[in-house]
C-alpha cells in the first residue's frame, strides 16, 4: 500500500495541476527514452505496402488455415488482401497486429476480426456475433448488418456498421468509437467504461445500463435508459467531433448532429470519491 504524504514541496505533476494528492508506492519504473528511433510497427510484425495487392480464396480453408495464409501474405509484403468466399466462416481475420487493408467479399460468422491492432478492414456483407471483439486499433467498416455484442470489450479504433446491429453493442467497451448507421438493440453500451458509441437510428431498451464512463450519442428514439445512464447537454466540442467522425465513418455526413441525444454515466454507482487516493490509483 502506498503512503499518503503532506509534503510542502510540489512535484512536477502537482505543480502542473494534474493532481493534488501525494502518492508513493509500487511502480514498474519504466521510463520513456526520448531518443527512441521512429518506427511504426510492432516487433515481429511486417512492414507491408498498401499498393501490393492480392486475392485469397478461403472457400476450401478452415479459419486457422485462412488466418495463417493472411499472415504469410503479410510476411511477403502484401498490404492489401482481398478475401474471396468467406461464406460466413467464424473467427476470420483475427489477431492481426499489422497495418493492412483487408477486404472481405462476403459475410463473416461470429468473432470476426477480433483482437486486431491496426488494420483497416472492410466487410462487404454481414457479420455475426461479437465482431471486432477486443479490437485495439484500426478501422472496421461493415457494409450491412451486424449481430449481437458488436464491438464487445473494444479498447480502441473505429468500428463502423452501416446497417443495424443487435443487442449489447459495445458491452464492456474500454475505449475507441463504435458508429451505427441504422438501429441498435437492447442494452447498448452495457457496462461501458470508456469510449464513444454513436447511433444514428433508434436504440432499444436499457441504453447504457450500468455504464461507468464514456459517451453515447443517439440520433433516433431511445427505448429506455438503463440504470445510471443520464442525458447530458451537447457541447460544441461534441458537435465538431461528431461531424468529423461521421465523415471518417463514411456515413451520415449530412446528418444533423446537433439534434442528437447525448448520454453519459450519472455516476450514482461511482464510489471513487469514497476511496483513499491510493486506491484511486489502481482503479484506472
Amino acid at each position: 500500500m502506498a503512503n499518503l504524504k503532506t509534503a510542502e514541496k510540489k512535484t512536477k505533476a502537482q505543480s502542473m495541476g494534474m493532481h493534488t494528492e501525494t502518492l508513493t508506492g509500487k511502480t514498474q519504473q519504466k521510463f520513456f527514452n526520448p531518443d527512441e528511433a521512429e518506427n511504426f510497427f510492432y516487433w515481429g510484425t511486417f512492414d507491408v505496402d498498401f499498393n501490393k495487392r492480392t486475392n485469397l480464396d478461403v472457400k476450401d480453408l478452415d479459419c486457422k488455415q485462412a488466418n495463417g495464409k493472411i499472415d504469410e501474405l503479410m510476411s511477403q509484403g502484401y498490404g492489401t488482401i482481398v478475401i474471396k468466399n468467406p461464406q460466413g466462416k467464424h473467427s476470420l481475420g483475427v489477431g492481426i497486429l499489422n497495418k493492412l487493408n483487408l477486404i472481405f467479399e462476403g459475410s463473416l460468422g461470429y468473432f470476426g476480426v477480433g483482437s486486431i491492432d491496426g488494420p483497416i478492414v472492410r466487410v462487404n456483407g454481414r457479420v455475426g456475433w461479437s465482431c471486432a471483439e477486443n479490437m485495439m486499433a484500426g478501422k472496421v467498416v461493415i457494409e450491412k448488418n451486424a449481430g449481437s455484442c458488436f464491438g464487445a470489450a473494444i479498447r480502441g479504433g473505429d468500428l463502423i456498421c452501416k446497417g443495424s446491429v443487435g443487442a449489447r453493442t459495445g458491452i464492456d467497451q474500454k475505449g475507441g468509437t463504435i458508429i451505427i448507421g441504422g438501429d441498435a438493440g437492447a442494452f447498448t453500451g452495457f457496462m461501458m467504461q470508456r469510449g464513444r458509441i454513436v447511433i444514428l437510428g433508434d436504440v432499444g431498451i436499457n441504453l447504457g445500463d450500468s455504464m461507468y464512463d464514456g459517451t453515447i450519442y443517439v440520433g433516433g428514439k431511445i427505448g429506455s435508459f438503463g440504470s445510471d445512464a443520464v442525458e447530458s447537454p451537447m457541447t460544441k466540442d461534441d458537435i465538431d467531433w461528431l461531424k468529423r467522425k461521421l465523415k471518417v465513418a463514411e456515413i451520415g455526413e449530412n446528418f444533423d448532429v446537433s439534434k442528437m441525444t447525448k448520454v453519459v454515466a450519472g455516476k450514482k454507482l461511482w464510489n471513487y470519491d469514497a476511496l483513499e487516493p491510493t486506491e484511486k490509483k489502481g482503479a484506472i
Partner: protein, 139 residues
Amino acid sequence: MAKKKNKKKKVKVSAKEVKGQLGKKKESAREKMIGQTIGYRYDVNLLPDYKRLTPFLKKYIEHMGWDDLNWLEDVHMGYEEDRPAVFDRNANGWVTIPKKIKLPNNQQDRDMIARELLVKFQMSPNHPLVDLKKAYRKF
C-alpha cells in the same frame, strides 16, 4: 469625511492555464456537470484538439492509412509516483516521462506528447513485451 477609495485590484486569470487541469480549484465543465471531482488521473472524455498534432503523429497516421488519431484519441497524460506518465495498455503499467522532457502547461499539448512517446515506446525493440513474445510466441 473623505471616503476611502477601495480600489480592488483586478486579478487576471489565464483561462488557458486552468483549462483541463484537474485538481485545481476551478472545476472542469464535466466535473461541474456531474457535481463530483473526477477520480481518474485525467478526463477520459477529453476530445483531442487536432490543431495540436505533432509532426511525428501526422506521419504515424499517414503510415497506418487512418483518417485521424484512431486509438490514440483515448491516450492522455496522467501521473505516476508524482511524475507525469502515460498508461501503456500493452505492458499494463504506467510509463514515466523523464525529467529532462519539458512539458507544456496545457492538457491538450501534454496529451499529444504522451501519444507520441507511447507509440515510440510500444514500437521499440526495447519494449517489455518483446522478450515475452520471443519466449511464448506460438505462430
